[in-house]
């Protein structure tokens, strides 16, 4: 069968007619397969949801236990049959619980990777390349300018700055699911053993990560008790939006840091008023994207959310068939 008969875009999301399910639908549907817990991929209100147990747990934390009619946990690497279509989940290395979804029917296999990265990350299972006919890749950082440095170097810069400016606090903006916990874990792995102060929005997810065996050390709420002096020299992690908010006023002369792949571009850092950009991303950079495309051995590449044109161009130069897959509703800016 033609690959586009097995999976194709609909306004609700990527649809599989023979299996009658959607992958990461942006509107409530009957049957949804979810790659990971970020809110633009995992929405509430579907009648049934199939995802990894960790993704289901995260959705429960975010939306409440009744976020879907019924749920089913997918074991990584195990095939599940849905109306004759064979489905399997494989680690994507993006955030805790994240998975690629392989869809196979009548000899054609498509892998929808969701969001993924190849850099080592102690807070989730590493990406596994899956051989397939069609590989659906994200392209958040699909331009040759995006080259993420080793995350350990970035954390070393943060720690150096904290030593250089002991009278100031360092506010690290990091998305609440995944990035925040990765930053904390990287700090611990670099030997930082002082308490890390966190914004309230991070508390439940960080607690969940720790319950899953991911050590994050002592986390303390960044609340005001006993005056501002308490935060001198502290490292505070919170969602980026909080730092532009009145919430941030409790910290002494803070240095604003932002952990994101976008921080590769100086102007992005400057516009956002970021003093210490930390190039730490949960998405594949250009080199990882191109290497992964080759590794999957896919004959055809569909490119979604992000800068599709450059990746399509690269595939053309490599003699690989490629086209943009226009899916609506995902945050282009996500990282």
């Amino acid at each position: 069968m033609r690959a586009s008969d097995l999976l194709h875009p609909r306004p609700e999301g990527l649809y599989c007619p023979p299996g009658d399910f959607f992958i990461d639908p942006v509107r409530p549907v009957n049957r949804a397969l979810i790659t990971h817990g970020h809110s633009d991929h995992a929405r509430s209100g579907h009648r049934s949801v199939l995802a990894t147990q960790q993704t289901l747990d995260i959705m429960g934390l975010r939306y409440g236990e009744d976020f879907a009619g019924t749920t089913q946990a997918a074991q990584l690497g195990e095939a599940i049959a849905l109306d004759g279509v064979s489905i399997s989940f494989h680690p994507a290395g993006h955030v805790l619980g994240s998975a690629q979804i392989a869809v196979e029917h009548q000899g054609t296999r498509i892998v929808a990777s969701g969001d993924y990265k190849r850099q080592k990350d102690a807070t989730c299972a590493p990406f596994e390349p899956i051989a397939c006919d069609v590989f659906i890749t994200e392209a958040t950082f699909g331009l040759p300018v995006f080259r993420h440095p080793p995350d350990t170097e970035e954390i070393a810069r943060l720690l150096k700055s904290a030593a250089q400016f002991p009278e100031r606090s360092h506010l690290v903006g990091a998305y609440a699911l995944g990035k925040a916990q990765r930053v904390m874990r990287l700090l611990r792995d670099a030997g930082y053993d002082r308490p890390i102060y966190i914004h309230g929005a991070l508390a439940r997810l960080s607690e969940y990560y720790q319950s899953q065996g991911i050590e994050l050390g002592t986390l303390e709420p960044a609340t005001v008790e006993g005056g501002k002096q308490d935060f001198a020299g502290a490292i505070v992690v919170g969602p980026p939006s909080a730092f532009a908010d009145r919430w941030a006023r409790r910290f002494p002369d803070p240095i604003s840091c932002f952990a994101s792949g976008w921080m590769r571009i100086r102007q992005r850092a400057k516009q956002g008023g970021v003093e210490l950009p930390l190039i730490i991303s949960d998405h594949a950079d250009w080199d990882e994207l191109t290497a992964t495309i080759k590794e999957t051995g896919a004959e055809e590449i569909w490119v979604t959310h992000g800068r599709e044109e450059a990746l399509v161009r690269w595939c053309e130069l490599e003699g690989i068939a490629a086209r943009p897959l226009h899916l609506v509703g995902y945050e282009d800016e996500g990282d």
Binding site: P144, V145, D253, R307
Partner: protein
């Protein structure tokens, strides 16, 4: 190279002066010679490397990668140096065991001839990582643009060595990269370098503003008064055939004023104000002077139309004789004799302002006879010429600032301590005929208010936002709604860059006019009238 690249990256994003000083002194402390000296020279603009044209950079990179992919990349990033540093393909077999040091990079670039320049540059880029590539490209394309002035770099040296910045300024022009002797002295490992060069800068004497109650304690008979000219403070030094014009902070600005420098046919050090016009006839306005500012080169036409001259008010040295220890009265006598022998189209004397008492001087200060006068200077007759800003011998007593009532239009989030506050304000005044009034932006200010007022404005901005663009909010401002700000400023220049046609000098918020309806704010004509004066 990586340490230098990291320093550049941090400096460009660090808004606070103290933060920059910490970064610089840490760098000087932790990096050895000659790298730290070369970094210093790169920052102060004293590093001499044959420039590479941007077009050549583009050619080099598109020889190495798909031009279409390069095009997408450049479109996205917008900065050529940055794009090239990011996309430069790294060939795995080509990476050396270690990256080159700044010293090695500079040595190879300086040794390169015009013809093998591109090859040398490409070789260096091959051997470096992303940050280092960016730094290398910035070095060869010139202009680091990291928000660090030569003055700030000298302050960092002073902090590093715990000496006064005037000591650095005085030494500076006799030194050259990589400043090994300077660093050795600052680290206490060697004697202070001896300066044998000609026509060196002497740290200048500065004044204090007249504060409340200052004058009551002073006897008018102890002081001379002069007009305070709103030009550029310069020091003209000519010695052994070398002629240099220095700015107040010791930057050599001779290149921008060749007409004046040529006329320095003497052996002395003079202190005064650089202005334009012909001192025997008419002194130009600040707008005229502006035509000559911030130019690397200056055309003959420009020199003819806006000739530079120096209005002298002090003399520090004549021939080999250092006059700085003499009282002002005696120096002034020597100055008058000296200036009388100079080209009268290029040098004149700053005249005294006669006054009987402070009240009489106050009246003169309020109504100066020329638009480029911004107040009066008071100098004690018995004061020696001393570096920096001692309190007592010299006072400046400025004309009161102009004020205008403007309406807040946009607010931008600040940095550092103010990163959660909307603290940078763009304000406008009314233009257009009746029934068609619209606000036209006339300036931007980010100080002048108290912390308490900042909180109030911040709340007002958040409550009255109509649109958001990144860190900027557009605030509701029409005939019926809007916050009126009383803005104080020192002067007004014509501007072709601003829609309003005017640019304010030194604007700050002087009062919040919560009481004043937006439609009663000033009109653009009020400002235009100031221009034409």
């Amino acid at each position: 190279m990586n340490r230098f690249a990291e320093l550049l990256d941090r400096l460009v994003l660090t808004p606070s002066r103290n933060g920059k000083l910490t970064l610089l002194t840490d760098y000087f402390r932790s990096v050895g010679d000659p790298d730290r000296g070369l970094a210093l020279a790169a920052i102060t603009g004293d590093l001499n490397i044959a420039a590479v044209k941007p077009a050549m950079l583009r050619t080099l990179v598109t020889e190495r990668m798909d031009p279409v992919l390069f095009g997408y990349s450049y479109d996205y990033v917008g900065d050529l140096a940055e794009t090239v540093s990011l996309v430069w393909p790294q060939t795995p077999g080509n990476i050396p065991n270690r990256e080159p040091t700044l010293g090695e990079v500079v040595a190879r670039l300086q040794a390169a001839s015009r013809s093998d320049g591109p090859k040398v540059l490409a070789g260096l880029l091959d051997s470096a990582g992303i940050s280092a590539r960016f730094a290398i490209i910035k070095l060869v394309t010139g202009g680091l643009r990291i928000g660090v002035s030569a003055r700030l770099a000298k302050q960092a040296l002073a902090d590093f060595g715990k000496v006064d910045v005037t000591e650095i300024e005085e030494l500076w022009h006799g030194l050259s990269p990589p400043y090994t002797a300077l660093f050795a002295w600052l680290e206490g490992k060697a004697e202070k370098p001896r300066n044998t060069a000609m026509a060196l800068f002497r740290p200048v004497m500065l004044s204090n503003p007249v504060g409340d109650g200052d004058l009551e304690k002073l006897d008018p008979a102890d002081y001379a008064a002069e007009w305070k000219w709103d030009g550029i403070r310069v020091q003209a030094v000519a010695e052994g055939g070398i002629r240099r014009l220095y700015s107040r902070t010791g930057d050599d600005v001779s290149g921008a004023f060749p007409d004046l420098a040529d006329a320095m046919r003497f052996s002395a050090t003079l202190d005064g104000e650089l202005l334009v016009g012909d001192p025997r006839q008419a002194t130009g306005t600040f707008s005229d002077l502006q035509q000559r500012l911030n130019r690397k080169t200056v055309t003959p036409k420009m020199q003819q139309q806006y000739p530079a001259f120096m209005r002298c008010y002090d003399v520090l040295q004549i021939g080999a004789e250092d006059l700085r220890a003499l009282p002002f009265r005696e120096r002034r006598g020597r100055l008058e004799t000296f200036v009388a022998a100079l080209d009268p189209s290029r040098f004149d004397l700053s005249p005294f302002v006669d006054f009987a008492d402070w009240q009489a001087l106050e009246e003169l200060r309020r109504a100066p006879p020329h638009p480029i006068i911004e107040g009066v200077m008071l100098k004690r007759w018995d004061s020696p010429y001393v570096a920096s800003r001692p309190k007592g011998p010299w006072f400046k007593w400025k004309r009161d600032p102009h004020t205008v009532d403007a309406v807040l239009m946009y607010a931008q989030r600040g940095h550092g301590k103010r990163s959660s506050f909307y603290s940078d304000y763009t304000f406008g005044v009314w233009s257009g005929g009746e029934g068609e009034e619209e606000l036209v932006p006339v300036g931007k200010a980010y100080f002048g208010f108290t912390d308490e007022e900042l909180k109030q404005i911040d709340k007002y901005v958040r409550d009255n936002t109509v649109e958001r663009f990144g860190p900027v909010r557009s605030v509701r401002a029409d005939r019926d709604n809007g916050l009126v700000l009383e803005v104080a400023f020192e002067g007004l220049n014509r501007s072709t860059r601003h829609k309003s046609g005017v640019a304010m000098r030194f604007p700050r918020i002087s009062r919040l006019r919560w009481d004043k309806p937006a439609n009663e704010a000033d009109r653009i004509e009020t400002l235009q009238a100031l221009l034409d004066r």
